[in-house]
Symmetry: C2
Subunit: 392 residues, 2 copies
């Protein structure tokens, strides 16, 4: 099935807003087995928008339209969808009532121009928006089914998962449920991870379980996307593959799904009942800034220092914390030497690594290496396992 994404709005067209809605939608569709073939961006202009609807209607089987559902005069999606279909706009009483009630609950009167958001093409299928005033709808233009979604990212994301993807899967003849399992790793690049996972039955870019990678330096995200008849079927097929991936990526996996490395470190400290101090040099606070603001960190995080020289054991003693982590970085041309220190009273562990890259990359890598060494230490894993970003 040929799916297209059509993004509307002057803010996107002029580049004032970076189009993260497009990339989010395309990735999400890809994860459930739907491929996007074409993307279009047009502004809030009648003639252009109508042309874009018609051209997409000739090329695609399904088109997700994003934006243009607001209450103001420059929001044209409903009106031009009706024009492209050759029908009138009709008031959707149900949606008008929902909006009115939603305003009333917050003790406010609905502004008159919100009524426009309940005017849908006469032939439209209503699509619910549980968290906003812009409802979605679907119509057929040319040979394609058009699904209209609001531009507000939070609303779009929820509607995409709950309303749009199920409809697209049905249109495409794909049935069942989907799940996305994610592993966050530090220390291995995409090609190495790909090699490490080679030969797992059913797991491949075009396999039964779809394997994908997304690099956000210094972390790599490994994604397993699966579609099945029902949740039990997913679970049964995913569990052994998930376990094998976890085993093969091994100590490099720092977190899974919605976890973060810093969250895992904080949880391990809480479980052990230990407090922490952090000392940094040229990372200048970015290590502490990953831990200190977390919910619940106030009971664990005792002190952070940024100075020209740091010693883990001295910091542990002066701060009164149970464990001190120091991240000391010496910047060179297109590289840097990072020295991690962890003092816990019983011992002081040292890990040195030469990282390659510009100043920003070295600092970001140093921060990640420091947190990862602390994670490994707290979980009883080796802290000196070689990572892909270091030169030995």
């Amino acid at each position: 099935m040929r799916v297209e994404i059509l993004c509307t709005g002057d803010e996107i067209l002029t580049g004032k807003t970076i189009n993260t809605n497009y990339s989010f939608m395309a990735r999400r569709l890809n994860e459930v087995g739907l491929d996007v073939h074409w993307g279009t961006t047009v502004g809030d202009d009648r003639e252009t928008l109508l042309a874009a609807f018609r051209q997409a209607g000739e090329r695609a089987d399904a088109v997700i339209v994003n934006g243009g559902l607001g209450p103001t005069v420059d929001d044209l999606s409903q009106e031009l969808a009706a024009e492209a279909c050759g029908v009138e706009l009709v008031l959707n009483e149900h949606w008008l009532q929902r909006m009115t009630e939603s305003y009333a609950r917050r003790g406010r009167v609905m502004p008159a121009n919100n009524r426009k958001q309940a005017m849908l093409p006469a032939n439209a299928e209503f699509i619910d928006n549980p968290i906003g005033t812009a409802c979605g709808f679907a119509v057929t233009i040319g040979r394609a089914r058009f699904l209209f979604t609001p531009g507000v990212p939070r609303e779009m994301r929820r509607m995409l998962d709950e309303q749009v993807i199920p409809r697209l899967l049905k249109l495409s003849g794909i049935t069942g449920v989907t799940r996305l399992k994610r592993f966050h790793s530090f220390g291995i690049g995409e090609s190495r991870a790909d090699e490490m996972l080679a030969g797992i039955p059913g797991l491949a870019i075009d396999g039964d379980i779809k394997l994908g990678f997304q690099a956000h330096f210094p972390q790599l995200e490994t994604k397993l996307a699966i579609r099945g008849a029902d949740e039990a079927d997913l679970e049964r097929r995913l569990a052994p593959v998930e376990a094998e991936v976890r085993k093969r990526l091994g100590n490099f996996v720092v977190a899974e799904d919605n976890q973060s490395l810093e969250g895992v470190v904080l949880d391990a400290l809480k479980t052990a009942g230990k407090t922490l101090a952090i000392g940094e040099t040229v990372t200048g606070g970015i290590v502490a800034a990953r831990i200190a603001p977390l919910a619940g960190a106030e009971s664990v995080f005792k002190l952070g220092t940024i100075a020209k020289e740091v010693s883990a054991e001295a910091l542990r003693k002066s701060s009164g914390a149970d464990i001190a982590l120091t991240v000391d970085t010496k910047l060179e041309d297109e590289a840097g030497t990072v020295t991690i220190g962890i003092a816990d009273g019983a011992q002081t562990i040292k890990r040195e690594a030469k990282l390659v890259g510009n100043r920003d990359w070295v600092r970001t890598g140093a921060c990640e290496l420091g947190l990862d060494c602390l994670r490994r230490h707290l979980l009883g894993l080796p802290v000196d396992e070689r990572i892909d970003f270091e030169r030995r």
Copy 2:
């Protein structure tokens, strides 16, 4: 003139890479008076790419194509441009030689597949790329002039300014040179800045000098784009308007052009020959992380601390720094109270502000407020001027 941007590549189409090239190009064109009317994204697929070239060639006067000029088999731009034009690919001897020499200078032999990057449509106009192996070119497809640029952001940006924009301005009949003057402010929103600048002769969204805003919370960028016959003409017309904008935005301007707030603060400290210590609570290192990593900060930045409580005067004494800045934040539901302290030995200044927004916004705002108070103090400006983000 109708200008379109056509971005190619599976990484962009599938959303794996966020399309920042598009937004950069669209903004840059807008700044020189060229409006983008349509954006298209397609993957590395022959049929789709050819269709995209032909459809854009029917709609537009000029099309910037981005990507697909690499040495590998999935880079199809030259080949399909030739097919759309109905001509053969021909070796560009000049570019082959340039690439060969460039490899030789780095002591390497050019890989054979790079030769593909010197194969251009027979009717193509060569467009130079001074910093990469993917040269650009221009051909006419349908009624539009197509200008091909590489996907590597650094190369695209340089070629856009040096090669593409001058050609587009010529095509559109716009002559002369352009300049973009930028002011970075903290503490005023876009609508307030717009009001503050109302009525400056010649300065407007559609004026002789084009006014634009871009909000990157917590800063606002105010842009003056001007086109003129030559540099002297630009200077003569821009200077009085620039001075008036600077005067009206007044103390809220934290930096101009390529300057940053933290850079301005560092420069002021260097000029005054003063050293600095920074103390933070729940911002957890993000204030120090703005200053400490700057080139030259090592002679100025003495110490950073992150703790549950901070006192500017106590920190100044214990650190031995000339000036201590403290940023203390208390988070509430959808708000936060920020207390800034500045101790310089002669006095301790306090500034308190209630900022609205979620945890991330309050922390980001607190960091900016701290640095801005220090800037104001160092430059002899009032530190307690009300900002738009605070509730009083």
